[in-house]
């Protein structure tokens, strides 16, 4: 059953250089309880996609100019500010990349969790404080009773991210948007935090959008993957299909470019050049200047989504 569906989303930013089309008509959906990986390089628009769902794009300079965000049957873009507040942290939660700056330094961890609980009044919690302790316990923070009284600066990086997860999941949302949740963490701590998210996902039956640049993390945690490039979605598929049989030249290049720790590699795949800027993106397919298989049509026409069957969708003229 579809939980969230994004249709033809366009987002633009007014920048110093001019108008930047940061999202150029993206489509994807996510089913109840599944994990969707949103993967791409810096500037591809994966983070702003996450923020758009919660309508957290600062306006101005940003503006959603077109599209729909359907969550549990309702278009979030038509919601009032008050209705959005009930959805944020209640039915959809979000966590951010850098746990060192994403918690308010002047309130205790417990206070910050309690604030969310008081606001959304989730079912099945006897008192706010019990909810706080339970939330901290659920992310495996030892001695949650006394740790709740700590301030963020008394927590280590990994603990802060777990505290953040506790806060955001204390109200049992049906969707979690995790924006690079482990990028700032060491690999041993990353493993712990991903484990915590996976456990809670199973327990709460929630869906997760995992935004990351790390294809290793995607391979280990996601059910489906959407590969983004320069404000567009290049390819969406089941995780196994995507890694085994990538169709889009960008996906193929990306997968071949990762130096792997589990086997020796003689050569890495090379995608020449670098990510284009948003103000004057290449015409046609935005990837064509870097694409080894570019054809004439790629320089003129923006590719449409092609369904290769079994939910494998690719936006590339090679398959058109």
């Amino acid at each position: 059953m579809t939980l969230l569906e994004i249709k033809n989303l366009h987002l633009q930013f007014q920048s110093d250089e001019g108008l930047a089309l940061v999202l150029d008509g993206i489509n994807f959906d996510i089913k109840k309880g599944e994990t969707l990986g949103l993967v791409g390089e810096s500037g591809c628009g994966k983070s702003v996609t996450g923020l758009s769902v919660l309508r957290l794009i600062p306006t101005p300079p940003g503006e959603i100019t077109e599209g729909e965000i359907i969550f549990e049957g309702e278009n979030l873009l038509e919601k009032s500010a008050k209705e959005m507040q009930n959805i944020r942290g209640g039915r959809i939660a979000m966590i951010f990349q850098d746990p060192m700056v994403s918690l308010n330094p002047v309130y205790t961890i417990g206070d910050q969790i309690a604030e969310a609980i008081d606001l959304h009044q989730p079912k099945g919690i006897t008192s706010t404080w019990d909810g706080v302790v339970e939330a901290l316990d659920s992310v495996q923070i030892a001695d949650p009773e006394s740790r709740a009284h700590n301030y963020p600066h008394q927590f280590s990086g990994g603990m802060r991210q777990r505290g953040m997860i506790a806060m955001m999941l204390s109200c049992r949302p049906s969707l979690l948007i995790a924006d690079e949740p482990t990028t700032a963490l060491d690999v041993t701590v990353q493993a712990q935090v991903l484990q915590v998210i996976a456990d809670l996902q199973k327990e709460l039956g929630m869906a997760v959008i995992l935004i990351t640049h790390n294809l290793g993390v995607v391979a280990e945690s996601c059910d489906r993957v959407a590969v983004m490039y320069a404000g567009t979605i290049a390819e969406i598929a089941d995780v196994e299909k995507l890694f085994e049989n990538p169709k889009h030249p960008y996906t193929r290049g990306l997968l071949g470019a990762i130096p792997r720790a589990d086997r020796d590699m003689n050569d890495l795949a090379i995608i020449e050049g670098s990510v284009p800027n948003h103000v004057n993106p290449p015409k046609g397919c935005r990837f064509h200047p870097r694409c080894k298989e570019a054809m004439d049509i790629c320089r003129i026409e923006k590719p449409t989504d092609v369904d290769l069957g079994e939910d494998h969708i690719v936006a590339c003229h090679l398959y058109g």
Partner: protein, 320 residues
């Protein structure tokens, strides 16, 4: 052996003002030894706070060592006078991590890449320009780039400029301090491939500092694993990846995300907690607070580095 490091220590003291006398000592690097053969690439891998970057910077005397010895081609680097050291610098160089901070923002590419030639008195003005242009071409840049300022380049290009500046004096030894960790995967692949090509073309000796085991595996012939200022394991690449001995190395290799969904259900050796503060490291083996195989003696006795077989050393009480 081109490089011999013996018992290197580096302590930083933090705090301590006119009236606050309580200085704290951070043992960033606490007595490590290793050799690098001419033309080899030693990977130094560890989490943040392990001291790996400090090792590289202390060897180049960007930090003054607390104690220990660094023999570079029969010369004791730590006992050189400033003028002698400056002269030696043409033979050993460093490439920094952050492409946005490692170039002089006010110098053109030509000015900064030719600067080492001027300082070292290599050739004269008339030859500098040609040397720089040759080097730019070598690292994949155009002659027209020489006139530009750093802010006009992408991250990957800036890293290429850094590499050009480091190699212009034709050094034998280059320390690479996380040279690609700030770059996107596709750009990282370009830079790694370039570094490998340059190593074989110019017969360079690398010390490659990284937290990424995949990158280390791609780049290096030997690997040293650091934890909290100590070396815990040191082996040739095939031995380390095929048969990791130290529980820390074993854990790292088992939890590093692999971009292959089929390997998702492999056994992982998760570690508890996070790396302790180097201000107050644990007694005995520094890893004992997180070690899944900790024994009583680990808590009090520091294990010594021990050769298990040819080309494989480990510092762990399990192997005594």
């Amino acid at each position: 052996m081109l490089i011999k490091v013996k018992n290197l220590r580096k302590e930083f003291s933090v705090g301590g003002t006119l009236f606050q006398t309580e200085r704290e000592t951070v043992k960033a690097v606490d007595g490590i030894s290793f050799d690098i053969k001419s033309g080899a690439a030693l990977g130094l891998v560890g989490e943040s706070g392990s001291g790996k970057t400090t090792v590289a910077k202390t060897m180049l005397r960007l930090h003054e060592p607390t104690s220990g010895e660094f023999i570079f081609d029969e010369q004791s680097v730590f006992s050189l006078l400033p003028a002698e050291l400056r002269k030696l610098r043409r033979r050993m160089q460093i490439v920094h991590q952050n492409p946005n901070a490692s170039l002089h923002p006010r110098m053109t590419v030509m000015a900064q890449v030719s600067r080492p030639l001027k300082i070292q008195g290599i050739g004269d003005k008339s030859t500098h320009e040609k040397q720089v242009l040759d080097m730019l071409q070598r690292v994949g840049l155009n002659p027209e780039h020489a006139r530009r300022y750093p802010h006009e380049f992408s991250g990957g290009q800036k890293q290429r400029i850094s590499i050009a500046r480091a190699l212009i004096t034709n050094p034998e030894f280059v320390a690479l301090d996380e040279p690609t960790s700030a770059l996107d995967v596709s750009v990282q692949a370009q830079v790694l491939q370039l570094l490998r090509r340059l190593q074989s073309e110019l017969n360079l000796t690398y010390l490659f500092v990284s937290h990424d085991l995949g990158v280390i595996r791609y780049m290096c012939s030997e690997v040293a694993v650091m934890y909290l200022g100590n070396l815990v394991e040191y082996a040739t690449k095939p031995k380390l990846f095929a048969n990791p001995l130290h529980p820390y190395t074993q854990s790292l290799l088992s939890i590093v995300p692999i971009p292959d969904p089929k390997l998702r259900h492999r056994d992982r050796k998760m570690l508890k907690g996070e790396i302790p503060s180097p201000k107050n490291p644990p007694k005995g083996c520094r890893f004992h607070t997180r070690c899944p195989q900790v024994m009583e003696k680990c808590k009090s006795i520091e294990p010594k580095m021990k050769q298990i077989e040819e080309g494989h050393q480990v510092a762990c009480h399990l192997y005594e």
